[in-house]
Each structure stands twice: as structure tokens, then as C-alpha cells.
Amino acid sequence: MAGEVSAKQFAEAGADLSLVNVTKRFPGFTAIDDLSLDIPAGSFFALLGPSGCGKTTTLRLVAGLEEPTEGRIVIGGKDVTDTKAYQRPVNTVFQSYALFPHMSVLENVSFGLRRRKIADAEDKAREALALVELGHVANRKPAQLSGGQQQRVALARAVVNRPALLLLDEPLGALDLKLRRQMQLELKDIQSEVGLTFLHVTHDQEEAMTMADTVAVMNLGKIEQMGAPEELYESPKTAFVATFLGQSNLFVGEVTGSTNTVVSVSSGGYELRVPSERAVAHRGTITVGVRPEKVSLHQSKPSVDANRTLIGPGRVVDASFTGVSTQYLVEVPSVGEVTVFAQNTSLGEHAKEGDEVFLSWSVEHAFGLADTPPEEERFVDDTSTGSVAVQEREKLEAELEEA
């Protein structure tokens, strides 16, 4: 089956998915703004973003449950924009499971197979149930299962159809940690074994990073950055990615000079350097960032070479011991608060609250962002009209996201 995928047959391989300039407007706001996306066949793709960022809407557009206002959706080389959900070679694991309450678990799982008149629907459904270790509940009704079991049934009901493209809408949300890990591995196995294309929507960055080959971070209806998990984490391109995916220390400053290899930025009286290839912009006002675990804490001023950036002295305002590491919050005059994660690799004296410390990090670990972090007031007056409007909008968007 060269490229052409039909809802009438089992997919022998995953299909690639393309979104071309897709825009989705709801009355009053735009959920997705001119989104273009290519997901190669057989990949495990995660759409990561906070609630209300448009990720579930994207999924529903691909599934055919919403119609795009503009743009085309192409699955396996075939334009499916104008087809209905039941005509698309796509299955969804819904966030709410949406298991049919009047059917047994087995009837639920074989539903899609029977609609496509596939032989041995019942046997195949039993196999799928065995895969999620629920063979023993085949004759029960969904209401008689626990939340985690229901979620696995929902997964089996979608996977059993061997769709060219499987859509996962936060499918592991209700599982406890152990089961979650187990299901993550199983999902990964199914995906690589059959070579299906998975599109996974989640707000859980850890889940996205551990499972997906490619992660796209979405915010306000646009994709901020897309790439392998390591790439996103190590060299974020926007302030949103830098702060949503893990934590970051961000410093805004003016570029004072640049060479072929290094861009120098002046911020708060310090010279911060970023490797040229890790900086998005090389002139004007830019943001330099560094991950907290890349920052070293020194209790006396160290002598550092040109490959390290040193700032300080600062004062430790908070130190919290978390076992593996200690998280420090260091107030550096004219720079602000800097977060440091220090591995607890040695016993003995550690910096305490109130201590004077110096901070340093390797220049190669710094990254330069295209934009500046949004100015956020520490304590926004919740009753101001502006704030109320923002809250209402967020609520509305969250509702639409769920709907």
C-alpha cells in the first residue's frame, strides 16, 4: 500500500501527517493560528503545552472532530480536510476514555473492527485486551472497572484497529506512577513494533520527553519550537520553551560584541557569553539563559578561565534539600534571583541561607533566546479588571480545550 491509506483496512505502517497553514477560530478567539506541521510516518510525536494552548484542538482537527477554519490536513499523502471522522484512518484515545457504557469491554474493543467488517473481530479484540493485561474483564461493563483499567481499555480499543495514525489525548493522566511507566513502555513497544505514527498531546513535559522522538512545544495556538527532547531542553529558542520545559535562569541584556564563536551580552554589570550557534539573535537586546543544574555554587570567589562565566557575590535566600540535590535561590545584586540545583555528591558543609556565594557556569551551557521573558508582576491584583478578563479568558479557553 504505497502511501494511500484507507479507513477500510488495517494499516501496515504508519502514515505521515501534514498540517498546512491550519487556522481554527472559535467565536471570540483563535485557538490555532496558521499552524504548519509535518510528522513523518512511524514517529512518536508529542504536542506539549499548557492547557488552552490549542493542542487538543489540533488533535481534534486531525481526528475530524472539528473542521479547520483555514488550511489543509493531509494524512498519508491524502487530503482528508473535507472528510468526516469515520472516514479517516485515525483512532483516538480520548482523555475522558469515552467508553460506551452500554457495551461490555469486549464489545467496546471490537467496535471499530466490526464497523470495518474485519474478520475475527472478537479474537483480535481479546488479543488487544491481553496486551493491556485486561483479558479477565472482557465481559464486564466499563463502569465496573477502575479509572486505570478504563484507560487501558480505551487504549486497547484504539490500538486494536492498527490505525495509520494514533492520536493520544493525555491518555495516561489518571494512572498512578507505576502503571504510567508501564503503559509508557507498552505504548512505545506497540509503536515501534507496528511502526504506527503516534501523535501524543500532553501537558506533562516529563511524559513528552521520555516517550516522544520529536516534541513540539505549543503556546497560544502556535508551535514555539520543535525538535528532539534533548535539543529542546539543552537549547531552547524562546523564553516560553526555556521556562515551560524545565526551569531556566534568564538574563536580559544588550549585545556588546560578537565573534565567530561567542556573543557577549552585558546584563547587570556582568559580561555573559553565549556560543554563537546557541544564540538565536546576535544583536540588540537578547535573553541569555542557563539551566539551574548547569550552575555551580562557590563559597569563595573561584579563579575561572575564559570558558566559564562568573557572577557574584550573591546571597543565598533559600536552600531546600530534596535528597538527590539541593535547590538554592541566590539573590545577586543587579541581576536578580538565580536558581541553582547542586547535586549532593559530597558529605559535609553546604551553603546555608544567608551565606555569600559566587556562581559560575560553562559558556557552552548558556543559550540565547529570540525573545524576552514576559514582564510578570509578582503579585498581580486579582480583582483588577484586566486580571479578571484574563482569568475569564483562560477559563473559557480551558473549557473549549476540554470540549
Partner: protein
């Protein structure tokens, strides 16, 4: 048993509260008025009805004078005399239920599902559906009699359009009786279906579409089965009273002697012929037949699974 089918609104999840197992004297006191009421107005008349149904005329007595006896013959006589009326009652009630379902389901679906995003229109549509209740059903039936009248506008149009022959008429025909029954019980059919459809989780419908079911299959395998509790309540609320109805089939309204149903026969025996045993026997036959049909129906549709 059969009454369980009416509980469409009560989810099964609230059942099995330990409070119901505690024998609280307050609960008994609260039940007492209801129990007394039922004993007084249901059990006592039922006994009286059973006794009456076996009575025989007082020898040499006046018309309407009866004495206690055990005349099972009464039952045999009424069944053989009014066999066609009994059959007609059930056929008309069945047809009315069928047409009410056919008309009521789409109405309920539109109000409960399609109008869900527009609460104002939804409320308005519900008001329109219930509005006829604000007018006496006698007046409404008389209005239909006027509309169906031989010299009326409606029949005139049908005749001039040659849809019906020039010598045809509508009043007093089975058509007008079934029409009247359907009309009268339509809200009783549509409202329970509406309450189940209004709660229908549309995510099931979406999931059905996602699993390759076209809209017709989605309706057949998901929407309709999930609305079955409402359909069962609606059909019972239509079928039971329609079987015993005596207004629509009456000569004074939409019927004629050829369309008389059991209700009309019972009325005639009680009020005109004063043959109380025959009327009582007919009433009991009607009651028992409905009970048997309804329990078979409820058992077959397996509502317990759905509720």
C-alpha cells in the same frame, strides 16, 4: 417491577445507601400517609371491583340491582361480546404509541441534542412542547373534531387536491382516533426521551465516529441504545393510558360506534346500561392485559442494564 422503567432521571449510583437499611421510625411515619392513601383509594376500590365483577342481577329486581355471587360467566360474556373492542383498544394504542415514538423521538433529539448549545431556544422549544397541557384536553380534542369536520377547511383541501375521494370523511374513522391518541400522548412520549437525550454524553458519539461508525451506525449502536430508558418510559406512558382512553374514540369526539374502544364500552356499561359486573370485569381484563404486556415488554428490553 414495571415501575422501575419510569426512573430515568435517577442514576443507579445513588442506590445502595446504607441509610435505607437503617430502620428509622421517621421514614415509616413519612410513608404512612401514602400507604393509607393507597389503601383507601386503590386497594379498596380494587377489591370492590373484583367483587362487583362476579355479581349477578337480583332476580326480579330493578335495572342496576345486583347481588354478590360468583358468576365467572361475566368474564366469558364480556370477552365474547366485546372481543373486537378489546382487540381494537390494543391495536389503536399500539399504533398511537408507534406514531408518537416516530414523531416524538426526533422532537426530543432536536431539543435535547441539537439545541444544547442554545439554551434559550431549548427552553422555548420545551415550552412549545408542553404548551398544549395548558389547554383542557377536551377542548383540544373538540378542536381536532372541528378541523377534521366534513365541511371543514382541511378536508376540503384534501378533497380538492384529490388526495381523498370526494365522498370521503375523516371524523369517526380509525384514522382520526389514532391521530387523536397520538396527538394527546405525544408530549408523554417526547419528554422522557428528551430527559435521557439531554444527558447523552456527546463524547460517546464522537468516539463512535472515531471508530469508523457512520452517523446512521452511531445512532443505531450508541445514541438509540443510550436513550432506551427514555424510550421505554415514553412508550409506557403512552401505551397504558392510550389503551384505556375513551375520549378520542368516543362518538362525541373523534370516533364513532365502529371505533369504540374498551374505555367506551366500560363507560357505556357503567353509566348507560348500568351493567356494573360487566364493566368491572372489563376493567379488570384491561388492567391484567396491560400488566402482562408491560411486564413482558420491560423484561424483554432489559432496562436494569441500562439504568
Amino acid at each position: 417491577m414495571a415501575f422501575g422503567a419510569f426512573q430515568t432521571a435517577a442514576p443507579a449510583a445513588t442506590a445502595a445507601t446504607p441509610a435505607s437499611q437503617r430502620k428509622s421510625p421517621i421514614a415509616l411515619w413519612l410513608l404512612l400517609p401514602g400507604i393509607l392513601y393507597l389503601i383507601l383509594f386503590f386497594v379498596t376500590p380494587l377489591f370492590s371491583l373484583v367483587i362487583t365483577s362476579f355479581q349477578e342481577p337480583v332476580p326480579g329486581g330493578f335495572m342496576g340491582e345486583y347481588q354478590n355471587a360468583f358468576r365467572f360467566e361475566n368474564y366469558v360474556t364480556v370477552v365474547s361480546t366485546y372481543f373486537s373492542h378489546i382487540g381494537r383498544s390494543f391495536v389503536y394504542a399500539f399504533l398511537a404509541t408507534f406514531f408518537a415514538l416516530l414523531l416524538g423521538y426526533p422532537i426530543a433529539y432536536v431539543i435535547g441534542v441539537k439545541l444544547r448549545p442554545y439554551p434559550l431556544w431549548q427552553s422555548l422549544a420545551l415550552v412549545i412542547l408542553i404548551a398544549p397541557f395548558f389547554i383542557s384536553f377536551l377542548l383540544r380534542t373538540i378542536a381536532w373534531k372541528q378541523i377534521f369536520a366534513d365541511e371543514g377547511f382541511f378536508v376540503g383541501i384534501l378533497k380538492s387536491a384529490q388526495i381523498i375521494p370526494a365522498d370521503a370523511y375523516l371524523t369517526g374513522t380509525p384514522f382520526s382516533v389514532v391521530f387523536g391518541l397520538t396527538y394527546m400522548f405525544l408530549p408523554f412520549m417526547a419528554l422522557p426521551i428528551y430527559t435521557t437525550l439531554e444527558k447523552l454524553d456527546l463524547r460517546y458519539v464522537e468516539a463512535g465516529g472515531d471508530l469508523y461508525a457512520n452517523p446512521v451506525t452511531v445512532f443505531r449502536t450508541i445514541t438509540f441504545p443510550l436513550s432506551l430508558p427514555g424510550v421505554i418510559s415514553g412508550t409506557l406512558l403512552t401505551f397504558i393510558p392510550a389503551t384505556g382512553d375513551y375520549i378520542n374514540a368516543s362518538r362525541d369526539f373523534l370516533g364513532s360506534t365502529e371505533t369504540a374502544m374498551m374505555g367506551n364500552v366500560i363507560e357505556a356499561n357503567f353509566l348507560v346500561l348500568q351493567n356494573f359486573p360487566a364493566a368491572a370485569a372489563l376493567s379488570l381484563i384491561l388492567m391484567m392485559s396491560i400488566l402482562i404486556i408491560v411486564s413482558a415488554y420491560v423484561k424483554r428490553s432489559g432496562t436494569d442494564d441500562l439504568l
